[in-house]
Amino acid sequence: MSNSEEVKFGGMDRRSFLKALAAAGIAATGAGAAFMLPGTNIMVMPNSKGFLVVDMGKCMGCDTCMMTCSLVHHGEASLSLSRIQIQQDAFQSWPNDIHMAVCHQCEDAPCVKACPVEADHVDVLFGNIRTIDPDRCIGCTQCIDACPWLPKRLQWNPETNKVQKCDLCANTPYLRDKGGPGGTQSCVKVCPVGAIAYIDKMPDQDDTTAYNVNLRNKAWKSLGMSDEDIKREG
């Protein structure tokens, strides 16, 4: 028999210390495991603290938001590098002639769940935004495929061969203001007609039209344009 019981560690015998340490560790591990949702492969996603909503009936398709998005993120004004996407269809009439696609910062983001290397993640340091770490992204495009919306709210960056997505301007080396939730969103700031807005209340995740809101006011109507609500998905 060893003489372990005679050896003290911090005022208590070593065996008691080990038991206490192990019990505390098991309790902490149990609490951590309980924090996971059953049946999912990641931890509970905290909701994003910011969201972009748009008014497709107000947008006039100038693409200023796209150019600015690319500029503040990459230092060059390129439609191919924009994270917000404005699609125009000359064969449709108002309000179906323009479609604005912004990332929804989904509650249970499928793109985050699909990422095999945790590059697409919830950034707790920047208001829980769903964003992609370019250093980790391996360009597998599974996040793009997992996005339930069309057009996809994640874009292939042909210059870096990685995926990018809207981060509410959290990581914008070419933006003078502080971005991210609670800060400046460059697309909101530059839109000449105010067709994009930043809100901190999560839109209804079960309503596919919830991110398309009416941002028109009386002044808009006084110009002779419609202020009727538009129900469009996306």
């Binding site: 028999m1 060893s2 003489n3 372990s4 050896v7 560690f9 070593r14 065996r15 080990l18 038991k19 340490l21 192990a22 019990a23 560790g25 098991i26 902490a28 591990t29 149990g30 951590g32 495991a33 996971m36 999912t40 492969n41 990641i42 931890m43 499928p110 769940k113 699909a114 990422c115 095999p116 945790e118 993640h121 919830v122 950034d123 707790v124 770490d133 250093d135 980790r136 495009t141 599974q142 996040c143 793009i144 495929d145 997992a146």
Partner: protein
Amino acid sequence: MKQGDAGQSTLFLFDQYWWIIFLTIFLALLYSAYTRRKDPHCVGGKVLRHDLAARISHWFNAGGILILIFSGLGLGFLMFPRLVEGTEGAALMFNLHFVGAVLFLFGAVYWVGNTFLSPKRLEEHSPYKGSLKDAVIHYAHMAGLTKKEGGLTGKYEASERLAFIPLTFLALTMGLSGLIKMSAHIWHLPSGLTTFATVTHDWSTIILVILLVFHVVLAAVVPWAWPLLKSMITGWVPVDFVRSHHKGWYKELLEEGVCELPESNKQEKGKGGDDVK
């Protein structure tokens, strides 16, 4: 499988059951806290060299390390795109790595717990002043290059005690870097930290594989080690073997009174003979 589905539907144990790794660590500690070790003693011509706790610790480590090396090398080959046919192969190797990590961590942490309770066992394993010289003389003697035998061999040979330091360091390095790598499945760690952990993990593996080859050859393949291999399974080693190959340890057992001199030696001692030869 449709592209995009793999990340959501494939079972990755490191992602879904990461908590088992931490649970294993603390269960091993708890088990060690309730373990009562048996010190070496003689029974019917045999000496208890490895009690049950030592054997559990060793074989959990051995099994875990073998699975870790096999699955780790498998994962390495999956870094060549032409060898990748689907996500299932990567999932299988990752999940095997998970099983290996659980076994290895249980064995390693159980050993740490036991050693924490019995610090004197650490002294048995640690190198002493002159270990290197004794190890060189020992193997030179075994190879017939010298008639000198070096100092009296204790429970563990000088070379085993020398190997203890790098093996423990490697196990610690691999365990910690592995935990960092696994934590990246739970938390978002800085990419620099995960890169450092990956490089450390990989190089530790290469060095460990080399040392493991030496360990297996010297502890299991060469004939003179067969009694020790058997003792790692049964726990017992013949007294005669201890008397001839571990004279220092045999002397200690006699001095502690847990073993008795054989009748022939007692008679010789009565005539003034030496009890340890």
